[in-house]
C-alpha cells in the first residue's frame, strides 16, 4: 500500500514528513513573535486566521545552537489530539517549500541510533534516500510533553 506525504526540509540536510492532510498552509516570510521563558525549540508564535499558533523550530530541537534566526517559510499543520476532537494547529519553520512523496508500507524502517533526537518527535519512520526519515508525531510535539525536555 502507498500513501502520500509531504517532505519538510528544515535545512542542514534535516528532513521529516507529515501526512498529506496534515499540511494545511504555507506562510512565506512569516511575521513571528518572540515569547520569552519558553523552550528554545518552541519560543515563537505567529498569527494565522484569528489564531495564535506556536512555531516549532526543529533545528533548535536537534541542536540547541542551531536556532533558526530568520525564517523564510512556515508551514501550518493541523492535527487532532484525540479522535473526534476539533483540529488544533501549529507551525514549523522550513527552508524551502515541502515536496510531495509517495511512501510504501515496505519503506518502513527504524530510525538510526544517531537520530536519537528525532525519535522523540517521530510516530514512525521510513527509508527515503540514504537515511531513515521521521514521520512527525504532531500531537506529541504540540503537547506539553517536550516543553521541559532537556536539550
Amino acid at each position: 500500500m502507498e500513501s502520500i506525504a509531504w517532505l519538510l526540509d528544515f535545512g542542514d540536510g534535516e528532513v521529516a514528513a507529515v501526512g498529506q492532510r496534515e499540511l494545511l498552509h504555507l506562510v512565506p516570510q512569516p511575521e513571528i513573535f518572540d515569547v520569552p521563558r519558553t523552550p528554545q525549540h518552541c519560543s515563537r508564535v505567529l498569527a494565522w486566521q484569528n489564531r495564535v499558533v506556536p512555531v516549532w523550530d526543529v533545528r533548535a530541537w536537534l541542536s540547541p545552537e542551531s536556532r533558526t534566526e530568520s525564517a523564510s517559510l512556515a508551514a501550518i499543520v493541523g492535527y487532532q489530539a484525540r479522535v473526534g476532537e476539533q483540529p488544533r494547529f501549529g507551525a514549523v519553520l522550513l527552508v524551502k517549500p515541502p515536496g510531495r512523496i509517495a511512501v510504501k508500507d515496505a519503506d518502513a524502517c527504524e530510525l538510526a541510533d544517531r537520530q536519537a533526537r528525532w525519535k522523540e518527535l517521530a510516530i514512525s519512520s521510513f527509508r527515503h534516500g540514504e537515511d531513515p526519515v521521521a514521520i512527525l508525531d504532531l500531537p506529541r510535539m504540540y503537547s506539553g510533553v517536550l516543553a521541559n525536555h532537556p536539550a
Binding site: T38, A47, G90
Partner: protein, 155 residues
Amino acid sequence: MRSGESEFALLRLDRTNLIVPRNDVRIIELAIDLERDQPPPHGIGWILFDRQRCPVYCPSMELEWMDEVTSPRPICAVLNAKGVTFGLLCSEAKLLRSDDISFHDLPPAMVVPGSPIHRLAAYEGGVACASLAARILGDLPAAAAQERRTTSEAL
C-alpha cells in the same frame, strides 16, 4: 480614556511585546528622570513617584533582569502590585483598548513553570505576551525583593 473601559498597556522590550492591565500601571515616564546612583540589586536605578523612591529594573527580551541598559530604553513604566511600586525600562509604551485585543491561552508546548507570562494577546496584527504586575513582581530576583522590603520599611 472613557470611564469603565477596560484598557491595557503595551510595553515593548526590544523585540518582545509585553501587555499588562492598564490598572497595573501607575504612570509612564521618560527615563531621563532616573537616579542611577547605588541602584537596587539586579536593577538599574530609582525613580521618584508619589513621594516614594521606587526601584527600576531593565528586563531583557528574554525577561532576564539586567544590571545595565544595553539597548535604547527611553521609557519607564511604573507598575504597582501588592502595594509595591517599581519601574520597568521599556523601548516603547502605549495604551490599547480591550476591544482591539483577543486573548489566547499559552500553547501547551510553550508552557514552562514559573514564567510570568500566562496568556498571549493578538492586537493590530501583532502578538504580545500577557502578564500582570503581580507576576512580574514575583519574578524579580530574591535579592531585589529583599531590597524592596528594606526600602519600603525605611520610607
